[in-house]
Symmetry: C2
Subunit: 196 residues, 2 copies
């Protein structure tokens, strides 16, 4: 064993993902993670005090990766808000969709983790809605959106597009008419925000 290695939380999570990919969620253990890191499992527990906290950290990391490119669009307050909202939503849909189609087994693993790590998912959803709200606020300032209650409208936009980003609908993301349906829903939503 190599206890001299510098164990960062990031390194542990990276290796945990590899282990999950190799053994699957049901079989992977903290001992497997420790072995892959060439350290004792006590060393892993020092960073993540339980299997549950390790799983929650992996789920959070996965959600953060979805969040990063979205945050960039939400924070770039210079562009026209309407195009930014459109881009933000399409980026979210594409991120979810590519994860299902490119690596369906890993997606299932993450879904299970995400369902367990409810706090992480709740926090992720709140972050998503806050980002939409910040684009809406910019749009109102730019005079392109008419919105009474920014927070409620942000939630309504998240809800109205749920078919394209909620994993429960993943089976429908392979349909040939998906792009047309995305276009039609986004057009409807964006029209609903437009200032008169």
């Amino acid at each position: 064993m190599n206890e001299a290695v510098v164990l960062t939380p990031e390194r542990i999570l990276e290796v945990t993902e590899d282990v999950l990919r190799r053994y699957g969620l049901a079989k992977a253990t903290v001992v497997d993670v420790a072995r892959a890191l060439d350290v004792s499992h006590g060393s892993v527990y020092r960073h993540c005090p339980s299997k549950a906290s390790l799983r929650e950290a992996v789920a959070k990391r996965w959600l953060d990766r979805i969040d990063a490119p979205l945050r960039k669009i939400a924070e770039d307050s210079t562009g026209p808000a309407s195009a930014r909202l459109d881009a933000w939503l399409r980026t979210l849909f594409a991120a979810k969709r590519s994860r299902v189609l490119d690596d369906p087994e890993m997606f299932q693993t993450y879904l299970t983790l995400a369902r367990e790590a409810c706090a992480a998912v709740k926090c992720h959803k709140d972050t998503m809605i806050d980002q939409i709200a910040s684009i809406l606020t910019d749009g109102v300032k730019q005079g392109v959106f008419a919105v009474d209650d920014v927070k409620a409208s942000a939630r309504a936009i998240f809800d109205a597009t749920v078919r394209f980003h909620h994993p429960a609908h993943a089976d429908e993301w392979k349909d040939a008419d998906l792009p047309a349906r995305v276009d039609a829903t986004l057009a409807l939503v964006l029209r609903g925000l437009k200032a008169a």
Copy 2:
């Protein structure tokens, strides 16, 4: 056995529902249905040639019951289209929601049946979208809706409200903020349809 009884398809489906309620989907058999009807199981098979076709007929009956009050709203072309669309959508949400909350076990049974009877579900969805389309057409005639492609817009409305009528989201229908979220999404959708 009472072979003199008049076996209508409606009577068979009614009794099949009772049997499903009593024994559950996994245990209920055609023999149970025949026994409850006091006829031979051959008599049941004469109307429904297989267990699968019996299950499909039950699923279809369930979907038809959801459809009936919606059809009434869709076909009453005299009222203002905007209020009719709002009422149609709220009636759909309430129908799905009451089925989950009032009889969750039976709802699960129907969901399984509906998933198997894919043709019935596909047909039901098409009917729903056609009904929305007919309200949209009336709204365009009344000059209250601006819609380029009625069929695509009808589908977009169905998609944009999926969180409130698709069974995958049933867990969220008990949330205290559901009415507020329904209101916000419907307001957004209806604004998106409004003629300038």
